[in-house]
């Protein structure tokens, strides 16, 4: 069974380590904040200028001066700090964020990522995505493994305009956890009940299948 959105978020959160500063993209990455493992404390960076993002506000806490990068009203966690967008991206570009999680349209086995633009459709812009993928050492891309029509999104070479080149090392899809090494995808884990064959069939780039590919576990 393909992972649900909630399971994707849960699996992402398993990568969180105590003391990690993390930037979570809009959508599933943001959901991961709901599944932070026991005994692990993380601080969330919001690229508009906040380190230490808290949960959404209660009605009476809503403050138009306090939003996240998705323009949603938020709160601050204990120990939060505020700063300008230039300082925020100095932090990101300088490699100080421990983990970045974001979505994508396509990833290829060279570590390239396409996530911001589909030619012919409306161009909304890359926001901070290009800075995030260029600045982080440790990135997890979350997306569906293939389109509704069964077209793989793990490609030999991205077909859409790139967000970043050679910067992705780990992809979590609804079917599998895949690393990228030396120009190949390496299958690390599979979603519960999903066969290695199905994953292989839906992966267009070269896929290395280790002898043992454990199923993901969820607590």
């Amino acid at each position: 069974m393909a992972l649900t959105r909630e399971q994707l978020a849960q699996r992402v959160a398993q990568e969180f380590q105590d003391g990690y500063y993390i930037n979570l993209g809009i959508g599933i990455p943001t959901l991961a904040a709901n599944y932070i493992p026991e005994g692990v404390e993380v601080m969330l960076q919001s690229e508009n200028g906040l380190l230490g993002m808290g949960p959404f506000p209660r009605e009476d806490e809503v403050d138009p001066d306090l939003i996240n990068a998705g323009k949603q009203t938020v709160t601050m966690a204990r120990g939060a700090a505020l700063f300008s967008s230039a300082d925020s991206f100095a932090m990101i570009r300088g490699g100080h964020v421990d983990l970045t999680v974001l979505g994508a349209f396509e990833v290829d086995c060279q570590g390239n990522i396409a996530s911001y633009m589909i030619p012919g459709k409306l161009i909304k812009g890359m926001g901070g995505a290009m800075d995030l993928v260029a600045g982080a050492d440790n990135i997890i891309v979350t997306m569906t493994h293939a389109s509704k029509h069964g077209e793989s999104k793990l490609l030999r070479e991205c077909t859409l305009p790139l967000t970043g080149r050679g910067c992705i090392k780990r992809v979590l899809t609804d079917l599998a956890l895949v690393d990228i090494e030396d120009g190949r995808f390496i299958l690390r884990e599979r979603a519960p009940g999903v066969s290695v064959e199905e994953i292989a069939r839906l992966t267009a780039g070269e896929l290395v299948i280790p002898e043992v590919v454990p199923e993901m576990t969820f607590r």
């Binding site: 690229e47 508009n48 001066d65 601050m76 505020l82 300008s84 991206f89 570009r93 909304k124 890359m126």
Partner: protein, 233 residues
């Protein structure tokens, strides 16, 4: 009367000298921390052919979006331009030129414009459409592209508090692009919620010194929210 008193008497005075085809740098992220009333004054003046530099272009009803109604913007430099149907229409028809710039690069280009740095290298955008036509250079085995500074004829920004000398304090994430925008404008106009007496701000807690500010005005703000997201109590 001190030569450092930056306070002007009206929004009209605040934007005096703004002419067609100028470049204006605006602070704000989404609708957060935007110079609402300065934008409305540009609307009122009917200035046209503007190049606007700002992370976003507001929405159909608020922020820089209201300058689209009478097609006052010729070119938009931004990182994200969703949530705006008029924008889409004018971009598609070719009336509005758009230069998409990554958010962090945009922030750094503004900072560079204010800091006398004409250009810098960044890995952001290398190997993407953003890097096309730009110089690529290797440092320590990694590829970077050359990005040039941005300066504006005017900059418009919003702060929380200021003293009459233009020393600025921002509030929470309404800070965003505002400090850099102020530094990068030849004429920097700032509107604030409160003007305090000189000496009332702790010098260690001033986010941006008044040297960058040319004109200062106190306004009232709607502070619209794009995504009002709450949790149940």
């Amino acid at each position: 009367m001190s030569g450092f008193d930056k306070v002007v008497g009206s929004y009209e005075e605040a934007m005096a000298g703004l002419e067609d085809n100028m470049t204006v740098i605006a602070g704000g992220f989404g609708l957060c921390g935007i110079p609402e009333n300065l934008i409305k004054e540009i609307r009122r003046r009917g200035t046209r052919g503007l190049t606007m530099v700002s992370n976003n272009c507001g929405t159909d009803k608020y922020g820089l979006g209201i300058l689209l109604v009478d097609k006052q913007i010729r070119k938009m430099v931004a990182s994200y331009v969703g949530e705006n149907a008029l924008f889409e229409a004018q971009m598609m028809s070719g009336e509005l030129e758009v230069e998409l710039t990554p958010q962090g690069t945009l922030a750094e280009k503004m900072r560079a414009g204010g800091a006398g740095i004409p250009a810098f290298y960044t890995a952001t955008g290398y190997g993407t459409p953003v890097g096309e036509g730009k110089e690529v250079r290797e440092f320590n085995g990694r590829h970077y592209i050359l990005e040039e500074a941005i300066q504006g004829d005017f900059s418009i920004a919003k702060a929380w508090k200021a003293d009459r000398f233009g020393n600025l304090v921002f509030r929470k994430t309404a800070r965003n692009f505002n400090p850099m925008a102020v530094t990068a404008g030849r004429i920097a106009v700032v509107e604030v919620e409160e003007i305090v007496e000189v000496g009332a701000l702790d010098p260690d807690e001033i986010h941006l010194p008044g040297i960058y500010v040319n004109r200062l005005i106190q306004g009232t703000f709607e502070k619209n929210i794009e995504q009002r997201t709450v949790r149940s109590a």
